[in-house]
């Protein structure tokens, strides 16, 4: 298997690092011996055809695969000097620091306000003033504040798809995470809303490390600085997005980028 991982970062630039990660999904070897470093405060995109393992890997980064009993994960995922993949790790802390946004906007069946403060309250923040501040701050960051400030206590489900997705991002950043994991965050949205989200991510990368899984190769090209191409559980090529999109080293990457994948 020809593979090429050209990204080697200084320790201070690494947001999260994976070493010899293997993920098994039942009898399927979903991620094979993966080692990669992800740059801090930047956007890294995972691309590849369906079933290549990119989403599985993403979900491993905040242990969401624990929900699927038949998955088994071995190897190390280093974040803030600890191995996330350790059995004894406090999941709540990890997930608080590594937020996630899904393909389909999934606001809770609650008001806009409640959506954002739900986790905060769970973590014991009770003072209304602090909660109000975080709500406003988070909504401003996702450019939603002006659209919803007059109906904070109305149901979040009444928002449009694009607004819902921005709310989900706001909800994820309300707990002040360091990393945001996005699993195809725009594939359920119309082009205009997708554009807004992309632009938003571009702004957010100043404060957060963003890892995005996308089926939409063009999207990866537009917003990411680094791109990793996965195929059948292998990391085929990982490099700066410019390189991946103009001069990939591995033929398979080339074929995929050119849309010649059979």
């Amino acid at each position: 298997m020809v593979t090429c991982n050209n990204i080697s970062l200084d320790q201070k630039d690494i947001a999260i690092e994976t070493r010899d990660l293997n993920i098994y999904y039942g009898s399927k070897h979903a991620i094979k011996n993966l080692s990669m470093q992800i740059k801090k405060l930047d956007i890294t995109a995972f691309i590849g055809p369906s079933g290549c393992g990119k989403s599985t890997y993403l979900r491993a980064l905040n242990r969401m695969n624990d929900l699927i009993p038949i998955t088994k994960t071995t190897g190390k995922i280093l974040f803030d000097g600890i191995n996330i993949n350790d059995k004894n790790v406090d999941l709540a802390t990890i997930r608080q620091k590594i937020g996630m946004v899904w393909q389909k906007p999934n606001p809770f069946n609650k008001s806009i306000y409640e959506n954002i403060v739900f986790a905060l309250k769970y973590y014991g923040i009770r003072q209304k003033q602090i909660l109000d501040e975080i709500v406003e701050d988070s909504l401003r960051k996702v450019a939603l504040w002006d659209e919803v400030k007059d109906r904070l206590h109305k149901s979040a489900l009444a928002l449009s798809g694009g607004q819902q997705q921005r709310l989900c991002i706001a909800r994820a950043i309300a707990t002040k995470p360091e990393i945001l994991l996005l699993d195809e965050p725009t594939s359920a949205l119309d082009p205009i809303s997708s554009g807004k989200i992309e632009e938003l991510l571009f702004e957010l990368k100043q404060d957060y490390t963003i890892i995005i899984v996308t089926h939409n190769m063009q999207q990866a090209g537009r917003i990411s600085s680094y791109t990793a191409f996965f195929l059948l559980g292998d990391l085929i090529e990982y490099d700066e997005t410019n390189v991946i999109f103009t001069n990939p080293v591995v033929d398979k990457t080339n074929d995929y980028i050119m849309g010649r994948f059979g």
């Binding site: 969401m64 929900l67 709540a92 802390t93 937020g99 999934n106 069946n109 769970y122 489900l157 909800r171």
Partner: protein
């Protein structure tokens, strides 16, 4: 024959079938209501039944039906929801879970008379509860538990997985996720299902004949001591429900106006069941609206 002609004929046949079924239901409803409503009066609804003479009422039976329903639901709802949560969220895909599912399926398709006979054997005879509301409620619980578990499980499973993941991904515990995020979403389904279950319990007779008994002691509605034998709220007294009463007067036929009383009692029963049905739709819609309203 031309395929198009066959197609036309088939269509006509399907329409006929649909009309027949609708007519059957309306026939049934009209028959019961027309025949029954004439016999319904305040007296009928409150007076105790007569054994040999005409003019008896079904007051105690109506009370018994509702009281039994209350008792049953008291057992069924917590156990059913608990079981549903366990199966939907905590069970691992292993042999025990598989067996539990199979058993629930079997249990839900047991003939009610078999469940009733079991109740007779265990609660009435072995555990010495005698013919009592309590035995009846336990039997109805066995009868309804599988349905309740299944409804809860299905409602929880119908909660979009994204909702659950969103909550867990923020580090919120599984139990908190279930109670704060998933149950509210599953609630309309659970409530609708519960009311339908209640309707089923309300009309059940075969399982109760041998457990709650086929007769009621004279009740004194002023006696609220739950231990007195003639107190209406004593759960350990025998009690015939509306459905059992209908069966009894029809098969024994000792009273001269049996047919009229049966018709009226049936009407009351059907009205109650219809009421449950409409209530469940209404509540379902209401909750749905409340959750999705802007």
């Amino acid at each position: 024959m031309n395929v198009k002609v066959i197609d036309k004929i088939a269509t006509v046949i399907f329409y006929t079938i649909a009309i027949i079924i609708t007519l059957i239901l309306f026939g049934l409803l009209c028959f019961i209501l027309v025949k029954g409503l004439s016999g319904i009066s305040w007296d009928f609804l409150t007076k105790p039944p007569e054994n040999l003479r005409a003019g008896g009422g079904v007051g105690p039976q109506i009370f018994n039906s509702f009281f039994l329903l209350l008792l049953t639901m008291l057992f069924t709802i917590p156990l059913g929801i608990g079981g549903g949560i366990y199966l939907a969220e905590y069970s691992k895909p292993n042999t025990i879970t598989y067996a539990a599912r199979l058993v629930i399926e079997v249990l839900s398709s047991l003939p009610s008379i078999v469940v009733g006979l079991f109740g007779l054997l265990i609660f009435v005879q072995k555990l010495g509860m005698g013919f009592s509301l309590f035995s009846g409620a336990l039997v109805l619980m066995i009868f309804n538990l599988p349905l309740m578990i299944r409804i809860t499980e299905q409602s929880l499973r119908a909660v979009p997985v994204e909702q659950k993941e969103a909550s867990l991904a923020m580090g919120i515990s599984h139990w908190k996720t279930i109670t704060s995020i998933m149950l509210p979403i599953a609630l309309p389904g659970i409530i609708t299902g519960t009311i339908l279950t209640a309707g089923r319990a309300f009309g059940e007779a075969a399982a109760l004949m041998f457990t709650a008994g086929m007769s009621s002691p004279p009740l004194d509605f002023t006696n609220w001591n739950p231990l007195a034998p003639n107190s209406p709220i004593n759960p350990f007294r025998p009690a015939s429900t509306l459905a059992v009463h209908i069966w009894k007067i029809n098969s024994e036929g000792l009273i001269p106006d049996a047919a009229q009383i049966a018709a009226s009692a049936s009407a009351v029963l059907v009205i109650c069941v219809l009421f449950f049905n409409i209530l469940s739709r209404w509540i379902g819609k209401l909750i749905y609206k409340k959750f999705t309203a802007a």
